[in-house]
Amino acid sequence: MRVRGRVGDDMPLPGTTYEASVERLINASPEAVFDAFMDETAQAEWFADPGLTEVSITVEPRTGGRWDCSFQTEGGRYYWTGVFLEVDRPRRFVAEFTTVPPDEDPFISTMTVTCEARGAQTFITVTEVHASERRRDEAQGGIPGMLDVVQRFAEEASAR
């Protein structure tokens, strides 16, 4: 697990991103693991936590395609709206998405998933780089570099 961050030279908050990742060796081919992310029916079976209701998933497995998910929680409806920045079956995909929890600040994330063949198994790495929606608004409002930082972290993550 890694957490990274970066802060602008003279501002306490804008420009910060942070990163976390998990890794696992899975007893399946990279194609099977990759397709479990890219197939709506498959994803509906494992991606959302059990007990969530009214789960809706849309996956368009191509660069520029949508990756949307929403479900009902006790506190309200949770929305996840994303777009695939890169889809390279079965090696890796990169998606940027915005999540809007019912009782928390919205935030944006970039997720990179890599699937590496290890014999008959697959070593999967899932890396997420987070930045809040407010930060994105600040960046678009004149604080440069935040999205560059997100992209750089995503590239660094994908290079590992």
């Binding site: 697990m1 306490p12 908050l13 976390a20 899975i26 099977a32 498959a42 936590d49 928390e104 809040s132």
Partner: protein
């Protein structure tokens, strides 16, 4: 889909700076004046004070004036927020990968059953 609080946002931003992390590491060894904190850095006292204020703002550091000296010490442990986020993230993805593995096992079992 990991949820986190705006407090965590602020805390992560505060500890993302290497100078501030060094200040926290120094204060973990005991209270220090702003001058003592400034010693390892090529930085003015106001510059160090700016970092201290940011850490103070998120509750990681407390300061009080003792005569002409401002003494700094670690504040309430808001770094717990960071640890909580990391743990939440890890747990969520570990559970998700458990479900992914189970899903793939079922797929393989079904495929094997079909082939028989």
């Amino acid at each position: 889909m990991v949820q986190y609080s705006s407090n965590l946002d602020h805390t992560l931003a505060a500890v993302a700076d290497p100078t501030r992390r060094e200040i926290l590491e120094r204060l973990a060894r005991g209270p220090a004046s702003v001058s003592e904190l400034a010693e390892p850095f090529q930085m003015s006292l106001p510059g160090v004070m700016k970092h201290v204020r940011i850490l103070e703002g998120v509750g990681l550091v407390e300061t009080h004036k003792n005569g002409r000296v401002r003494e700094c010490r670690l504040g309430p442990a808001r770094l717990d927020d960071v640890q909580r986020w990391v743990e939440d993230y890890r747990r969520q993805w570990e559970r998700r990968l458990d479900r992914l593995e189970a899903f793939l096992r079922n797929q393989q079992d079904e495929a094997a059953g079909t082939a028989e």
